[in-house]
Symmetry: C2
Subunit: 267 residues, 2 copies
């Protein structure tokens, strides 16, 4: 099954577009967990147990684990084992390097860690992306129009009258022979999201930026989904995992996740 088909499948079975960002920071987890043998892993375990029936995907951002050094990589590996196979994993590392180096990243993230998909920065062009595309079952979300303020600095520059992110999307669409490419498009750009969905009616879109970053959930659903109401993977991180800083953090995360999923279903 191609990655795109897997996204449809998982979203159909779970009736959910929600991706939960596991961007965990030792300083932000509840006090009572800090005496656990492995506080961050215990935090992730409880968050995953409380929310895995609601999420179609989990997205650990690699920076948060790398910031913990070697032990962070072990925590990441153990965290991935806790995620049921019925949920998609997205390794959010935004890697990108020349061909022989990109192969190493692909090997590490897909084969060693076992992620179902990754995020990739394509400024370096086709040979930096190609090694990630070989296996149709493994997905690649290419950065197109990101949710942050810096997205205007280069992504919106005009190339032959059209913004660079659009050129990126139209170019990478041609690389999608294995049906395993998607794009990262921030919910902070609702108008552009709608236009992008028209350009790629059948490719997955990973949509961060709702919650703390202020993106619009209604637009993320209505403009981000394909004609069957799928292929939009809408990410929330901090608003879910840090919904409470008390002993009830997992219940609070579940409540917040459930609220988002139910709100998405109404649109």
């Amino acid at each position: 099954m191609t990655f795109t088909q897997k996204v449809r499948d998982v979203q159909h079975k779970k009736n959910s577009l929600l991706c939960i960002g596991l961007d965990v920071d030792l300083e932000k987890i509840p006090e009572h967990l800090k005496s656990a043998a492995n506080p961050v892993l215990e935090f992730n375990r409880q968050i995953i147990e409380a929310t895995c029936d609601l999420a179609c995907a989990y997205k650990p951002n690699l920076a948060f684990y790398e910031a913990m050094g070697e032990s962070g990589l072990i925590i990441l590996r153990e965290t991935l084992k806790l995620i049921p196979k019925s949920v998609i994993t997205i390794g959010d590392g935004k890697r990108g390097d020349i061909g022989n180096t990109a192969e190493r990243y692909a090997k590490s993230l897909f084969d060693d860690f076992g992620f179902d998909s990754v995020t990739v920065n394509l400024y370096m062009g086709f040979d930096s992306v190609e090694p990630f595309l070989k296996n149709p079952e493994k997905g690649v979300f290419l950065l197109a129009l990101t949710s942050n303020s810096g997205s205007k600095d280069f992504q919106r520059l005009k190339v032959a009258g059209k913004p660079l992110y659009e050129k990126v999307i139209r170019t990478a669409k041609k690389w999608n022979t294995n049906q395993n490419i998607g794009f990262v498009v921030g919910a902070t750009h609702p108008r552009e999201l709608k236009a992008i969905r028209k350009i790629v009616p059948e490719m997955p879109l990973l949509i961060p930026g709702i919650g703390k970053q202020g993106g619009d959930l209604k637009s993320a659903v209505r403009d981000g989904c394909d004609k069957d109401g799928k292929l939009a993977i809408i990410n929330a991180s901090r608003s879910i995992i840090y919904a409470s800083s008390g002993k009830d953090f997992a219940d609070a995360a579940r409540r917040e996740a459930k609220k988002l999923v139910e709100e998405m279903r109404t649109y």
Copy 2:
């Protein structure tokens, strides 16, 4: 001392523009090392000992270490300890993410690993770069015009009549208030290298692509240096570290490094 000044200083003291890429692959190191307790670390130790008087910088590409899992990070950390303080270290990870995440990468690479400088991909704009710029002593090489074939796919697109990489350079030049920004420009683009040096007469250029990738060493030196014959950091990886696959690999690496340094001095 700002990072730019440090580059001048090290290059003056060592009379060398050579950066050695420590892109080590367990499969490529000499057979006789494979019985060592830690073959990759032992390989790096001998390469560094044989070449550290000749190099102005070492550049480990993070992908090669990440591909070895947790133990790779330990090897990287131990390798950095073997590099004398008189040589600049460049953490080649090409990271780039939204502000609060980029902070984690900066913390990991600068504070935890202790790299003097890193490579960063700026497709995500200013807030993805800013956290790396705070400490004037720590350097950032932004990807501009890379050495690989994919560099033509996006980096050369015309923005208001000029190529994107030029826009990238002109924009980031304005961010250089701490005198710690440089650019990655491939030796495979000699004409453009010359033009870029005119745009940024006083910023460091990290120049990969000589050796296996076929870039021109003479141009890298003549067109890449500033008016004092400095600030071009010319990288060679595989042609040095795999100069021999026998027991003489460290001597062979030294010979190859010396040959390159002497050739550079003639230009």
